[in-house]
């Protein structure tokens, strides 16, 4: 069965600092991987996705993520965090039959 683990429940960073949010997945075949962001009281919005090809993918708002098959990871990064990045971040894996699994999320707090 597929699964997603986001080891960090809550991360606090200072504005302007770099950010890395961890995501580990378990899936037997090539995974389709996604990062979504959820602002308070809102639905989810796609940040970026990986299907195949270049393992470093760029997303919106200056985010990027790197797919590492050997580590079963798809960590999200941003070089310089802005106060507006405070939100909850979810990693997800979808199989080619359409079934999706989300991690429990990481809450990002940005200190001024």
């Amino acid at each position: 069965a597929q699964s997603v683990t986001q080891p960090d429940i809550h991360i606090t960073v200072s504005e302007g600092a770099s950010l890395e949010l961890r995501c580990n997945y378990s899936y037997g075949a090539t995974p389709y991987l996604f990062w979504y962001v959820q602002s308070p009281g809102q639905g989810l919005q796609l940040l970026l996705k990986y299907f195949s090809g270049d393992t470093l993918v760029q997303g919106i708002k200056g985010f990027e993520a790197e797919f590492k098959r050997s580590q079963s990871s798809f960590n999200l990064r941003k070089p310089s965090v802005h106060w507006s990045d405070a939100a909850e971040y979810f990693c997800a894996v979808v199989n080619n039959a359409g079934k999706s699994t989300f991690g429990d999320g990481t809450t990002l707090t940005v200190k001024p």
Binding site: Y32, A97, G98, S100, G105
Partner: protein, 115 residues
């Protein structure tokens, strides 16, 4: 395009009542999903559909039923509501890309309380 719409936005049910959460999308997406999100938790997949007439169970299907008679609509039925079903429910849809489900577009959610 309205995207993914959900009704109602809020609902309070009594234990044992039933209701249907409506979800519709106007993007001609094949894939549709129902999730529940409990406070401080991630999204748990209840049911999903890969096209009209085809549905499958997700991670937490007990106490729920779905149908997909059209591409646009994917209602979620709660029978005999229980307090454990108090949650926020999100519907989502996606198209396919490279033979796989692509980005999911989410509705605004339905906040359900069962008392």
């Amino acid at each position: 395009n309205a995207g993914v719409t959900q009704t109602p936005k809020f609902r309070i049910l009594k234990i044992g009542q039933s209701m249907t959460l409506q979800c519709a999308q106007d993007m001609n997406h094949n894939y549709m999903y129902w999730y529940r999100q409990d406070p401080g938790m991630g999204l748990k997949l209840i049911y999903y559909s890969v096209g009209a007439g085809i549905t499958d169970k997700g991670e937490v299907p007990n106490g729920y039923n779905v149908s997909r008679s059209t591409t646009e609509d994917f209602p979620l039925r709660l029978e005999l509501a229980a307090p454990s079903q108090t949650s926020v429910y999100f519907c989502a849809s996606s198209s396919a890309s490279e033979g796989a489900p692509d980005t999911q577009y989410f509705g605004p959610g339905t906040r359900l309380t069962v008392l």
